[in-house]
Symmetry: C2
Subunit: 102 residues, 2 copies
DNA sequence: CTCATAATTAGTCATTTAGCTAAATGTGGA
DNA sequence: TCCACATTTAGCTAAATGACTAATTATGAG
Protein backbone atom coordinates (compact mmCIF):
# COMPACT_ATOMS: atom_id res chain seq x y z
CA UNK A 1 0.00 0.00 0.00
CA UNK A 2 2.82 2.37 0.79
CA UNK A 3 4.18 1.84 -2.66
CA UNK A 4 0.87 2.68 -4.24
CA UNK A 5 0.64 5.97 -2.36
CA UNK A 6 4.27 6.71 -3.10
CA UNK A 7 3.62 6.12 -6.77
CA UNK A 8 0.62 8.44 -6.61
CA UNK A 9 2.60 11.15 -4.85
CA UNK A 10 4.21 12.28 -8.09
CA UNK A 11 2.09 14.31 -10.51
CA UNK A 12 3.86 12.89 -13.54
CA UNK A 13 3.00 9.37 -12.47
CA UNK A 14 -0.60 10.33 -11.75
CA UNK A 15 -0.82 11.77 -15.23
CA UNK A 16 0.62 8.59 -16.70
CA UNK A 17 -2.07 6.60 -14.96
CA UNK A 18 -4.73 8.91 -16.30
CA UNK A 19 -3.39 8.48 -19.82
CA UNK A 20 -3.43 4.73 -19.40
CA UNK A 21 -6.97 4.93 -18.17
CA UNK A 22 -8.01 5.63 -21.73
CA UNK A 23 -6.32 2.47 -22.89
CA UNK A 24 -2.97 0.71 -23.12
CA UNK A 25 -0.13 2.77 -24.52
CA UNK A 26 3.49 2.22 -25.45
CA UNK A 27 6.32 3.69 -23.42
CA UNK A 28 7.23 5.99 -26.27
CA UNK A 29 3.69 7.21 -26.75
CA UNK A 30 3.50 7.97 -23.04
CA UNK A 31 6.82 9.81 -23.21
CA UNK A 32 5.46 12.03 -25.98
CA UNK A 33 3.08 13.56 -23.45
CA UNK A 34 5.90 14.81 -21.25
CA UNK A 35 9.03 16.87 -21.57
CA UNK A 36 11.23 14.66 -19.43
CA UNK A 37 13.89 12.47 -20.95
CA UNK A 38 12.97 8.92 -21.82
CA UNK A 39 15.17 7.41 -19.11
CA UNK A 40 13.45 9.64 -16.56
CA UNK A 41 10.07 8.47 -17.79
CA UNK A 42 11.26 4.90 -17.78
CA UNK A 43 12.12 5.30 -14.10
CA UNK A 44 8.60 6.58 -13.45
CA UNK A 45 7.20 3.54 -15.25
CA UNK A 46 9.37 1.34 -13.05
CA UNK A 47 7.88 2.91 -9.93
CA UNK A 48 4.40 2.26 -11.25
CA UNK A 49 5.35 -1.31 -12.06
CA UNK A 50 6.84 -1.74 -8.59
CA UNK A 51 3.56 -0.57 -7.10
CA UNK A 52 1.82 -3.07 -9.38
CA UNK A 53 -0.30 -0.28 -10.79
CA UNK A 54 0.63 -1.09 -14.38
CA UNK A 55 1.48 -4.13 -16.38
CA UNK A 56 4.16 -4.08 -19.07
CA UNK A 57 3.50 -6.16 -22.16
CA UNK A 58 6.39 -6.50 -24.51
CA UNK A 59 5.37 -6.69 -28.16
CA UNK A 60 8.06 -6.45 -30.76
CA UNK A 61 10.10 -3.30 -30.37
CA UNK A 62 7.59 -1.67 -28.09
CA UNK A 63 6.51 -2.09 -24.52
CA UNK A 64 2.83 -1.55 -23.98
CA UNK A 65 1.75 -0.41 -20.55
CA UNK A 66 -1.64 -1.33 -19.16
CA UNK A 67 -3.30 0.25 -16.16
CA UNK A 68 -4.18 -2.24 -13.43
CA UNK A 69 -7.30 -0.51 -12.29
CA UNK A 70 -8.22 -3.17 -9.76
CA UNK A 71 -4.99 -2.65 -7.83
CA UNK A 72 -5.64 1.07 -7.70
CA UNK A 73 -9.17 0.41 -6.56
CA UNK A 74 -8.15 -1.98 -3.86
CA UNK A 75 -5.54 0.32 -2.43
CA UNK A 76 -7.68 3.45 -2.39
CA UNK A 77 -10.98 1.92 -1.47
CA UNK A 78 -9.28 -0.35 1.02
CA UNK A 79 -7.74 2.62 2.73
CA UNK A 80 -10.97 4.56 2.62
CA UNK A 81 -12.71 1.61 4.14
CA UNK A 82 -10.28 1.57 7.05
CA UNK A 83 -11.52 5.08 7.73
CA UNK A 84 -15.07 3.93 8.17
CA UNK A 85 -15.80 4.68 4.57
CA UNK A 86 -15.11 8.40 4.80
CA UNK A 87 -17.85 10.24 2.95
CA UNK A 88 -19.53 7.29 1.34
CA UNK A 89 -20.06 5.20 4.46
CA UNK A 90 -23.01 3.00 3.50
CA UNK A 91 -23.74 2.20 7.14
CA UNK A 92 -23.43 4.56 10.03
CA UNK A 93 -20.70 3.15 12.25
CA UNK A 94 -22.10 1.58 15.35
CA UNK A 95 -20.68 2.87 18.60
CA UNK A 96 -20.15 -0.62 19.93
CA UNK A 97 -18.56 -1.94 16.79
CA UNK A 98 -15.00 -3.08 17.42
CA UNK A 99 -12.60 -0.83 15.63
CA UNK A 100 -9.90 -2.53 13.66
CA UNK A 101 -6.83 -0.34 13.90
CA UNK A 102 -4.38 -2.70 12.28
CA UNK B 1 -2.64 16.67 -3.78
CA UNK B 2 0.90 15.38 -4.15
CA UNK B 3 1.54 16.25 -0.54
CA UNK B 4 -1.48 14.30 0.62
CA UNK B 5 -0.35 11.20 -1.21
CA UNK B 6 3.19 11.66 0.00
CA UNK B 7 1.93 11.93 3.55
CA UNK B 8 -0.08 8.74 3.06
CA UNK B 9 2.89 6.88 1.63
CA UNK B 10 4.38 6.31 5.08
CA UNK B 11 2.73 3.65 7.28
CA UNK B 12 3.55 5.53 10.47
CA UNK B 13 1.70 8.56 9.20
CA UNK B 14 -1.25 6.49 8.07
CA UNK B 15 -1.42 5.00 11.52
CA UNK B 16 -1.30 8.46 13.08
CA UNK B 17 -4.26 9.46 10.96
CA UNK B 18 -6.16 6.38 12.03
CA UNK B 19 -5.48 7.17 15.66
CA UNK B 20 -6.72 10.71 15.13
CA UNK B 21 -9.81 9.37 13.48
CA UNK B 22 -11.03 8.31 16.90
CA UNK B 23 -10.63 11.83 18.18
CA UNK B 24 -8.10 14.60 18.78
CA UNK B 25 -4.94 13.55 20.58
CA UNK B 26 -1.85 15.26 21.93
CA UNK B 27 1.54 14.85 20.30
CA UNK B 28 2.80 12.95 23.32
CA UNK B 29 -0.16 10.59 23.39
CA UNK B 30 0.38 9.88 19.73
CA UNK B 31 4.07 9.26 20.34
CA UNK B 32 3.17 6.66 22.97
CA UNK B 33 1.76 4.47 20.21
CA UNK B 34 5.10 4.28 18.43
CA UNK B 35 8.66 3.39 19.20
CA UNK B 36 10.24 6.23 17.29
CA UNK B 37 11.82 9.16 19.06
CA UNK B 38 9.68 12.20 19.71
CA UNK B 39 11.56 14.37 17.24
CA UNK B 40 11.04 11.75 14.58
CA UNK B 41 7.34 11.69 15.33
CA UNK B 42 7.27 15.46 15.36
CA UNK B 43 8.67 15.41 11.84
CA UNK B 44 5.90 13.05 10.79
CA UNK B 45 3.35 15.41 12.31
CA UNK B 46 4.92 18.23 10.34
CA UNK B 47 4.45 16.30 7.11
CA UNK B 48 0.81 15.74 7.97
CA UNK B 49 0.42 19.43 8.78
CA UNK B 50 2.11 20.36 5.52
CA UNK B 51 -0.39 18.19 3.66
CA UNK B 52 -3.12 19.93 5.63
CA UNK B 53 -4.37 16.59 6.87
CA UNK B 54 -4.20 17.63 10.50
CA UNK B 55 -4.66 20.76 12.54
CA UNK B 56 -2.45 21.53 15.55
CA UNK B 57 -4.16 23.22 18.46
CA UNK B 58 -1.87 24.43 21.16
CA UNK B 59 -3.35 24.21 24.64
CA UNK B 60 -1.08 24.79 27.58
CA UNK B 61 1.92 22.53 27.49
CA UNK B 62 0.38 20.23 24.97
CA UNK B 63 -0.32 20.33 21.28
CA UNK B 64 -3.52 18.62 20.30
CA UNK B 65 -3.72 17.25 16.80
CA UNK B 66 -7.03 17.02 14.98
CA UNK B 67 -7.69 15.03 11.84
CA UNK B 68 -8.99 17.09 8.95
CA UNK B 69 -11.16 14.42 7.48
CA UNK B 70 -12.60 16.65 4.79
CA UNK B 71 -9.18 17.27 3.29
CA UNK B 72 -8.51 13.56 3.18
CA UNK B 73 -11.89 13.00 1.61
CA UNK B 74 -11.43 15.63 -1.01
CA UNK B 75 -8.01 14.37 -2.04
CA UNK B 76 -8.94 10.71 -2.25
CA UNK B 77 -12.44 11.00 -3.57
CA UNK B 78 -11.36 13.78 -5.90
CA UNK B 79 -8.69 11.58 -7.36
CA UNK B 80 -11.02 8.59 -7.55
CA UNK B 81 -13.51 10.76 -9.32
CA UNK B 82 -10.96 11.74 -11.93
CA UNK B 83 -10.77 8.06 -12.71
CA UNK B 84 -14.40 7.82 -13.60
CA UNK B 85 -15.30 6.79 -10.11
CA UNK B 86 -13.30 3.57 -10.17
CA UNK B 87 -15.48 0.82 -8.74
CA UNK B 88 -18.48 2.65 -7.44
CA UNK B 89 -18.59 6.39 -7.62
CA UNK B 90 -19.57 7.73 -4.21
CA UNK B 91 -21.48 10.96 -3.96
CA UNK B 92 -19.22 13.90 -4.47
CA UNK B 93 -19.04 15.94 -1.27
CA UNK B 94 -21.74 18.57 -1.35
CA UNK B 95 -20.42 22.09 -1.61
CA UNK B 96 -23.15 23.43 0.58
CA UNK B 97 -22.56 21.01 3.39
CA UNK B 98 -21.37 22.87 6.46
CA UNK B 99 -18.01 21.27 6.96
CA UNK B 100 -16.15 22.30 10.05
CA UNK B 101 -12.51 22.24 9.15
CA UNK B 102 -10.33 23.03 12.04
C1' DC C 1 11.79 32.48 40.16
C1' DT C 2 13.01 27.83 39.38
C1' DC C 3 12.07 23.31 37.89
C1' DA C 4 9.97 19.63 35.29
C1' DT C 5 7.31 18.52 31.32
C1' DA C 6 5.83 18.82 26.30
C1' DA C 7 7.12 19.65 22.04
C1' DT C 8 9.94 21.44 18.42
C1' DT C 9 14.34 22.90 16.29
C1' DA C 10 19.19 22.17 15.10
C1' DG C 11 22.55 19.34 13.41
C1' DT C 12 24.16 14.94 11.64
C1' DC C 13 24.05 10.78 8.83
C1' DA C 14 22.59 7.18 5.47
C1' DT C 15 19.33 6.25 2.01
C1' DT C 16 16.20 7.36 -1.61
C1' DT C 17 14.42 10.21 -5.27
C1' DA C 18 14.20 12.56 -9.55
C1' DG C 19 16.49 14.41 -13.00
C1' DC C 20 20.23 14.21 -16.67
C1' DT C 21 23.62 12.11 -20.49
C1' DA C 22 25.77 8.22 -22.40
C1' DA C 23 25.82 3.44 -23.17
C1' DA C 24 23.72 -1.04 -23.61
C1' DT C 25 19.99 -4.19 -25.00
C1' DG C 26 16.70 -6.10 -27.95
C1' DT C 27 13.95 -6.39 -32.18
C1' DG C 28 12.34 -5.82 -36.87
C1' DG C 29 13.39 -4.48 -41.48
C1' DA C 30 16.56 -3.75 -45.53
C1' DT D 1 24.24 -9.34 -41.48
C1' DC D 2 23.72 -4.59 -40.39
C1' DC D 3 21.10 -0.58 -39.14
C1' DA D 4 17.68 2.05 -36.96
C1' DC D 5 14.38 2.33 -33.54
C1' DA D 6 12.39 1.60 -28.72
C1' DT D 7 13.44 1.05 -24.30
C1' DT D 8 16.11 0.24 -20.31
C1' DT D 9 20.49 0.28 -17.58
C1' DA D 10 24.62 2.59 -15.77
C1' DG D 11 26.50 6.27 -13.63
C1' DC D 12 26.25 10.80 -11.96
C1' DT D 13 24.40 14.95 -9.11
C1' DA D 14 21.39 17.68 -6.14
C1' DA D 15 17.77 17.56 -3.13
C1' DA D 16 14.53 15.25 -0.07
C1' DT D 17 13.51 11.66 3.48
C1' DG D 18 13.61 9.44 7.80
C1' DA D 19 16.02 8.31 11.62
C1' DC D 20 18.89 9.72 15.74
C1' DT D 21 20.86 12.78 19.86
C1' DA D 22 21.38 17.15 21.89
C1' DA D 23 19.68 21.64 22.52
C1' DT D 24 15.96 25.00 22.66
C1' DT D 25 11.45 26.93 23.55
C1' DA D 26 7.29 27.40 26.05
C1' DT D 27 4.26 26.54 29.87
C1' DG D 28 2.34 25.17 34.25
C1' DA D 29 3.44 23.83 39.04
C1' DG D 30 5.63 24.62 43.32
Amino acid sequence: MSQVFKALSDPTRRRVLQLLQKGPMSAGALCDHFEFSKPTMSAHFAVLKEADLVHAEKTGKSVIYHLKLSVLEEALLGFIHSFGGLAEAPEPPSKTEPEIVR
